[in-house]
Amino acid sequence: MNKFWVITKEVYKKNIKSLGFIVMVLIPLIIIGFIAGMTYYFSQESQNAEPTPIAVVTDDPALQELFSDEEWNFDIAEDITTEEEAETALTAEDIEGYMVINTEAQTLEAEIVHSNGLSNQIQIISEVLTNYQTMLRADDLELAPEQVMSLTEPVEVEETVVSIEAGALTEEDTTDRMIQEWSAYAVSIAIMAFIMTYSGIIAEEVANEKGTRIMEIILSSATATNHFFGKLVGVIMVMLTQIAIYAAVGFAAYLYFRDTDFVQGLIGEMDIMGMLQELLGYTLIFFVAGVLIYVILAAFFGSLATKMEDVNKAVTPIVFIALAGFYVGLFAFTSPENTLAVVFSYIPLFTPFVMPFRIASGTVATSGIWLSIVGTVGFAALISAVALAFYRSNVLVYSDTNILGTIKRSWNIMQSNKKARKQRDA
């Protein structure tokens, strides 16, 4: 078997089997499951809630009937007919509130007294009463139902969101835009989460092998290129496995739950396919390129650490850069046309965090998107080359000085080797 694959396989196997991986995969699932369970529980709870006992004190029996409708979930105490009785019942906590509604000359006057149990319904109650009053007055004016309809008909408001591209207005689908914005949001969180996890994993892999001198054995068995990319591909495969597990679980959950009312209520309005398409477009490119860049950087910084304990120190710069990108991204979410957001969207290390928001808000031309993609991918290739060049010599430097000192010494070794090789081959 090719040594590259031997290394890739080993890295993959070792990580997949580790307890850390299992925990890492399970925790988000548990959290999501917990939240979904809680949401489900509470929505069930509110559906099955006991009807609120109230009293309606009015001369108009039609009004009492109006509130007896099942939708209200009121339990109307029909034996209470006066305000005094109602007050006594409320004091005795037999009811949670009462309404006193006076009808006089087609004008409704209502007083609602409650122990805070009706707060959420006050607005609807008032709307219903207003409609009732409108009906009473329409009756009085002897208006036909059509006339009432035409009086109360709401104004039709149509919203069209456009994006300005090359001096022309292009109509945009608002739901499309919302999906884009939220998938941009999801991607930036996902990139952040994956960067944090996987840059830690690869930096640890590398630093561990360097610290234990396993690296020297490996580099006298296989080339640095094989080792570097073997590790990289191994770790990326672990990441893909994690994503695949989530996709599978998500799909299975969708198939299993899609017909329940609860899930229908949540996603019924959403265009799942549309969202997936959106995710599989530019967003995916930025996700892959983003994680790749940071993982390569992490491998590089990991190779600078002298021992395992230094790993966290070594990857700190990456974490800070990623955090900065993440926050600029959130900022671009709210003000996508801000100069800072625009500039950062073209800086390769930040592009994956910022550009998706600008695409979602429609503030960037297609040419701009492709420019940033080319930049990001080019940068990924460039830093792979630089990281690899340093890697060979980084792993031979065991220094107690800071990272810059290590880079300097590594650079010296690299130059010395290069010169020597040139001389030898001349």
């Binding site: 580790s18 234990t212 001198r213 054995i217 580099l219 031979l396 070794i413």
Partner: protein, 299 residues
């Protein structure tokens, strides 16, 4: 045959090794000695192609040593390391695969090797559950199991108890009998003296000693004399070539000579009445030579 010719490596202003040359034939063991920082690890790294020499070359069977012979190398670095969470078996298989072996070739050998080195534990045990000595033995197995033709061991004896050191010695001798070329570095001169056909001593990157162990010792002359006779210390000191006389714990006089030739006169004087239990004229031990060379200032 491994030929190392006139190696020179500098880092910035620092010369790590200078003019290092040696040859190791199949079945030969060479010891590399020198103080810390003398250039041993740099020499190893140049041979392993982790570093490129500014000057000189490393030849394997008359061709420049390159990645092509990576599979024929067994290397044990100075600091020991294995993957703590991987089982003994998988560890050995991984390193063997990196040396171009197939799993199916190595798998059946593992039990025998674990027995040979008396590793306590099952092959499915994780490395971290082993004691340090056992971990070290597992790493030795990783270094040797693919039957390398060039074996480089950086301080293989450090940390091993006498029993395990002997197991290692046996392992090295077995590889030697199969025709491997072996280099090892050690601070323990007894190991070097016992095992090596030849040795190199490095000092500040330069080769200050080179040759067969016996020849090197002889080259310093038989200036140390162990004597058990009726000659008194004063009488011994009257001989012209005698530098000083010490008595060791067993009551044997150790006579330090400036000239090996003086031994004859002392022998005659000591045996004038016939039998004496001890007369042994020896060259300095390797350890003494090491200390003397290390102490000398660079010429």
């Amino acid at each position: 045959m491994l030929e190392v010719k006139n190696l020179r490596k500098t880092f910035g202003g620092l010369t790590a090794v200078e003019d290092v040359s040696f040859t190791i034939r199949p079945g030969e063991i060479m010891g590399l000695i020198g103080q810390n920082g003398a250039g041993k690890t740099t020499t190893f790294r140049i041979i392993l192609d982790l570093l490129t020499a500014d000057q000189g070359e490393v030849l394997w069977e008359n061709k420049r040593l390159s990645k092509k012979i990576f599979n024929k190398i067994g290397y044990l670095p100075e600091e020991r390391g294995l993957y703590p969470k991987v089982s003994i078996e998988n560890q050995i298989l991984y390193f063997a695969q990196l040396r171009g072996k197939k799993k199916s070739e190595i798998s059946p050998l593992i039990d025998d090797w674990l027995k040979k080195f008396d590793v306590k534990g099952k092959k499915t045990d994780k490395v971290k559950t082993l004691s340090k000595g056992n971990q070290q033995k597992v790493q030795l197995i990783c270094t040797l199991i693919h039957e390398p033709e060039l074996i480089i061991l950086d301080e293989p004896f450090s940390g091993l108890d006498p029993v395990n050191a002997e197991l290692l010695e046996e392992g090295i001798r077995e590889a030697q009998s199969k025709g491997a070329r072996i280099i090892f570095s050690s601070h323990n001169m007894n190991n070097v003296e016992e095992l090596c056909d030849s040795l190199i001593m490095l000092k500040n990157g330069r080769q200050v000693l080179h040759g067969a162990v016996r020849d090197i010792r002889e080259q310093f002359g038989r200036t140390k004399l162990f004597l058990e006779s009726d000659l008194s210390k004063e009488a011994l000191l009257e001989f012209p070539g005698v530098q000083r006389v010490e008595k060791n714990r067993d009551g044997i006089d150790i006579v330090y000579l400036t000239q090996a030739d003086e031994g004859k006169a002392i022998f005659e004087a000591a045996t004038r009445n016939g039998y004496i239990p001890t007369f042994s004229q020896q060259p300095p031990t390797l350890e003494e030579i090491f200390k003397r060379m290390a102490g000398e200032r660079n010429e």
